[in-house]
């Protein structure tokens, strides 16, 4: 039996709408997780570079643990297991929200935060130590020196690796389909099981992921050419 290709089926009508809805969820969950991961990653990184041993140790354990376990297992952990660890109030709040979506956001941002923390740390270490010493000598507190002198410079170096973490997060967000978040991958899978036109559904969704990645990495190339070159000049 020859396979009948029918791309019209997937890109228009009901199934076309599914794809668009899925894309909207993918973009939404990625955007929220990126913001949270950035905030958490920055905090973790600050803990890492303080001289307070217990804080450093906590941040180190966090980073190593979350980087060295699969995201899928983390998603399952939050989805199935969070109920017995989180306080009742948080559980009730989560249940009142879209529970699957919230678990997806938690898993994605906790996971990516560990990677972001490492990228930030290597960015900060790229700034000469004398910068911190000089700003402390000017009378700034450690936090002020960080906030006004070190971090603004470090962020500029960190932008390219950071963006590739964002891209990873967008691609990783496809895993939330396993707990029933109706993202792009979920919808493609759904169309496959409804119509048996998996080829078209997976092609279209692959192309969508691909164009997001290519657009973002093209922009970062432009950024590299413009900002980083002027920075070294």
């Amino acid at each position: 039996m020859a396979y009948q290709f029918d791309f019209g089926l997937v890109v228009s009508g009901e199934y076309g709408d599914w794809i668009l809805q899925g894309l909207a969820i993918t973009l939404k969950i990625s955007a929220i997780s990126i913001v949270l991961a950035l905030v958490m990653g920055t905090l973790l990184c600050i803990l890492r570079i303080t001289k307070v041993k217990p804080l450093v140790w906590i941040a180190w354990t966090y980073t190593e643990f979350f980087r060295n376990t699969p995201l899928l297992v983390q998603i399952f952990f939050w989805y199935f297991g969070s109920y017995s660890v989180l306080p009742d109030g948080v559980n009730r709040w989560l249940n009142a929200q879209d529970f699957e979506f919230s678990c997806g956001v938690i898993a994605l941002s906790f996971y990516t935060a560990a990677f972001i923390a490492e990228d930030l740390r290597s960015g900060i270490f790229a700034i000469p130590k004398t910068q911190l010493e000089a700003s402390r000598a000017c009378g700034l507190s450690f936090m002020q020196a960080m906030g006004y002198v070190i971090l603004p410079q470090a962020f500029r170096i960190i932008v390219p690796p950071l963006v590739s973490q964002f891209l990873n997060l967008i691609k990783n967000s496809s895993l939330v389909m396993t707990i029933g978040v109706m993202d792009l991958t979920y919808m493609a899978r759904q169309i496959e099981s409804h119509t048996f036109h998996g080829f078209e559904a997976f092609t279209v969704s692959t192309l969508i992921y691909l164009s997001i990645s290519l657009i973002v990495s093209f922009s970062i190339q432009q950024y590299n050419l413009r900002v980083l070159r002027t920075a070294t000049r």
Partner: protein, 231 residues
């Protein structure tokens, strides 16, 4: 707390129903990771070298391959092989085989980039000198450039191996009986200890990956020292 559930199923998590049934659990994950890294290494090496070639018909396809695969989620690649292989080839692959093929195809694109970066980081004179002694481009690549470049790439390879080990968990989605799948099975069967089960699984993955990461860190430190001394 129901740690007894974890304790009673620990052998199932570690090697599945083996020897009374098929191998599964962590042993299956590790086997898949080993097969994946072996296949991805050779495919990645070929793609990476083609990417460096000055012949358009060699480097354009490998550029497209690398960019397309790296811009696509692994889950999509797995679905491609699982659902489309039957439509394209006309026969069904066993699920663990299609998972390994997907992992190889996915990881090789990243390895190709590592290879490319490794070769480009060598001084240009190496190639010129090798060509100057009368070796062909291919011979120079095989006997002079790659052996040196590969040594520098070892830490990156180990990191890729760690990613691959974590990525084998996605084979769960198409039903391969590896560690994550055994966890969900036990979880569905007992319904009592999801927290304990998934923490245990996470720790098992962690032990494997952390040992590898540490190993790569040591190697990196050693390679750096070695290079610094030579400079």
């Amino acid at each position: 707390m129901h740690w007894d559930i974890v304790w009673n199923n620990l052998d199932y998590f570690l090697w599945g129903a083996y020897p009374n049934g098929p191998l599964g659990g962590l042993a299956m994950s590790i086997l898949m990771a080993l097969a994946g890294i072996f296949g991805a290494f050779w495919l990645g090496l070929v793609v990476g070298v083609c990417r460096l070639s000055s012949r358009k018909w060699l480097n354009m396809p490998s550029l497209v391959y690398i960019e397309v695969i790296r811009g696509t989620p692994l889950l999509m690649v797995i679905f491609w092989f699982f659902f489309l292989a039957p439509a394209v080839f006309g026969f069904n692959l066993p699920d663990w085989q299609s998972a390994i093929i997907a992992l190889i195809v996915f990881t090789s694109a990243y390895i190709a980039e590592i290879v490319r970066a490794g070769v480009l980081s060598l001084p240009k004179g190496q190639m010129e000198a090798a060509r100057g002694t009368g070796l062909s481009h291919t011979q120079a690549m095989i006997h002079v450039i790659l052996p040196q470049a590969l040594q520098n790439m070892i830490p990156s390879f180990v990191n890729q191996f760690v990613s691959l080990t974590k990525d084998t968990s996605l084979a769960y989605i198409i039903g391969v009986n590896e560690l994550t799948k055994t966890a969900t099975q036990v979880n569905n069967r007992t319904m009592k200890a999801p927290f304990e089960i998934f923490i245990t699984i996470a720790v098992l993955y962690f032990v494997v990956c952390f040992v590898l990461t540490e190993f790569s860190r040591r190697l990196e430190a050693r390679t750096n020292r070695y290079q610094a001394r030579n400079r």
